[in-house]
Symmetry: C2
Subunit: 283 residues, 2 copies
C-alpha cells in the first residue's frame, strides 16, 4: 500500500485546486475494496503498536504523532473513530485542540502543543494543531501578518525538534470539496441526531473557503520538507481518506520497526521460581 502514501507525500508547494477531493491516489479499487483493505491492515497495525509500546518499557524513546487538519466536516471525527479506533486504546492519546483558553493565549502558540507531545511508546493524535495559528489566524486576522509570517519558521524548527526527540510526525490535511462540505452540513441540519455537531459558525468559516485554501497552500509550502512532509488526503470519499490515513500510520510504524525488548531477567530462573515456590501461596 505504499502506492497510497507515496502518492500523497508533499515536500514543497502544492496547488490544492489540482488535487481532486474525490480522487483516490494510489488506490484503484472502489469502496468495497477500500473497506476490506482497511479491515485487512488492522492486525498489522495492532502488532506494530504493541511493539512500539513494548519497546518503550525497556527504555525505547520512539513515538508517533498523527496530526489531522481539515475544514469542518472533512472527516476528522471519522478518522478518530475508524482509524485510531483500530489501535489498542492504551497506546493512543487523542488531543483535540479547540479555540485556546485564556491561559493558553497567555503563552507562546506552541506551548499548549509541546505539552501534548506523545510520551515514548505512544501514538499521539492531534485533532487540529499548531497550524490553526497560521490558518484561521491568517484568514480571520487573529494575529498580525508579521507574527504569522514568523510562525512558519518557528513551526519548521519545532517539528525538527520533535523528530530529534524520536517522534515520527505524520501531517495530514483532509481535503474535502466545497460542494461535499455543503452536502455534509445539510445532512447535519436534516438529522436531529446530528444537530449537536452543527455550529452556525461553521457557515461563517465556509464563506471564507477560498481564503482557507490559500492559507493551507501557504502553510504547506512553508512547512513541507523532506523530513516533515505534508499529506493532502482527498476526503470526499470517507472510505478512501480513512484507508489513506491508516496507511500513513502503518508506514510510519513500519519505518520505526519497533522491536520486542529482550528480557532483563533470567527466564529459566523465573520459570523455576514460578513452578517451585510460586506454585502455592505462602501467606
Amino acid at each position: 500500500m505504499t502506492a497510497i502514501t507515496d502518492a500523497l507525500r508533499i515536500t514543497g508547494p502544492v496547488d490544492l485546486a489540482s488535487v481532486s477531493p474525490a480522487s483516490t491516489p494510489g488506490f484503484d479499487g472502489r469502496k468495497a475494496e477500500g473497506q476490506r483493505a482497511l479491515e485487512a491492515g488492522a492486525e498489522r497495525l495492532a502488532e506494530l503498536q504493541e511493539r512500539l509500546f513494548a519497546e518503550s518499557t525497556a527504555g525505547g524513546e520512539r513515538a508517533v504523532l498523527l496530526m489531522v487538519q481539515g475544514m469542518d466536516t472533512s472527516g476528522k471525527g471519522g478518522i478518530m473513530r475508524h482509524v485510531v479506533g483500530q489501535v489498542d486504546p492504551q497506546g493512543v492519546r487523542i488531543k483535540a485542540f479547540k479555540a485556546p483558553t485564556e491561559e493558553e493565549r497567555s503563552h507562546d502558540f506552541l506551548w499548549r502543543i509541546e505539552r501534548e507531545l506523545p510520551a515514548p511508546g505512544m501514538i499521539g493524535v492531534f485533532d487540529r494543531s499548531h497550524y490553526e495559528d497560521v490558518l484561521i489566524h491568517r484568514v480571520r486576522g487573529l494575529s498580525a501578518p508579521d507574527v504569522i509570517e514568523e510562525r512558519y519558521g518557528r513551526i519548521v524548527e519545532f517539528e525538527r525538534g520533535i523528530a530529534e526527540r524520536g517522534i515520527s510526525l505524520i501531517k495530514v490535511m483532509l481535503h474535502v470539496s466545497f460542494e461535499e462540505q455543503g452536502t455534509r452540513l445539510l445532512e447535519r441540519l436534516d438529522r436531529p441526531d446530528k444537530h449537536w455537531k452543527y455550529n452556525p459558525g461553521d457557515i461563517d468559516e465556509r464563506e471564507h473557503w477560498d481564503a482557507y485554501m490559500e492559507a493551507y497552500e501557504i502553510a504547506i509550502a512553508r512547512t513541507a520538507t523532506e523530513q516533515a512532509p505534508w499529506h493532502v488526503v482527498p476526503a470526499d470519499r470517507k472510505w478512501y481518506s480513512r484507508l489513506a490515513v491508516r496507511e500513513l500510520l502503518l508506514e510510519a510504524l513500519e519505518r520505526i520497526d519497533p522491536q520486542w525488548p529482550t528480557a532483563d531477567f533470567d527466564v529459566a530462573a523465573e520459570r523455576a521460581r514460578l513452578v517451585g515456590a510460586g506454585g502455592t501461596p505462602a501467606s
Copy 2:
C-alpha cells in the same frame, strides 16, 4: 443481558472462595456465543456513548467511570483492548495508576484519583485505582493499619461525591484463579514477545495470594453499597470477563439514557443560509 449484570452485583460482604473464577454467571452460552454476544452489542454501546458525549455539548454533566481492579494477568489489558476498544476513542480516557510518584505520595491518596475523574460526556477508565491504597498497602504494610482502616470510610464518602457529580461508577474486580495466573505467567515466560509484560515482582505478589484475597474481601465488604456496588467478574475465561464488563458498561449507559440535545439554533434559518449565501465562497 441484565442476567449477567444482576448476577455479578455485590452490595455487601463477599466470600471470594465461593465465586468460581471459571464460572460464567448469568450467561449459559459457551465461548463462541460469548464472542458473538460481545460483537453484537458493540453498535449499541457506540450509540449510547455518542449520545452521552453529545449531551455534554449542550451542558449535560453526566459521565461514566469504569474502574478495573485485579491481580496480575487477570486480564485488565484485554478489557482495555477488547471492551474499551469498542468505543469511539474520542469519548474515552484510560488512566493506568502505577506505583505513585513522589509528588503523588506527598498528597492524600485520593488526590491523584480526583484529578483523573472523567469530564462530562466522557467514559473514564481506571486501570487500578484508589483501592490499591487498601489492597497492596494492607498486604505489604505500606501504610499503618489505622490509616488503612480510615481509608475505607474515606472511599465510601469519595464515591458518594462522585455519584453526586453525575458520574456513574462501575467497580470491577477481575477474579482470576491462582492456578490460571500461574498458567498465564508461564506463557509470558515462554513467549519472547510477552517477556516485556513479565516482571519478577509479579511472583513476589503471587506469594501473598491469600492475603490479597482477604484484602479484596475486606475492601469489598467495607465499600460495596447499593449506590456503589462491586462486581466480582470471574476471569479465568477471558471471553466471559470481557462480555461481562461490556454488559456493565452498557447497563450503566442504558440507565443514564443520554439524549440527543435539541438544536439551540434555528434549523430552517440555517438551512436557508447554507443553501443561499453559504452556497458559494464569498472570499
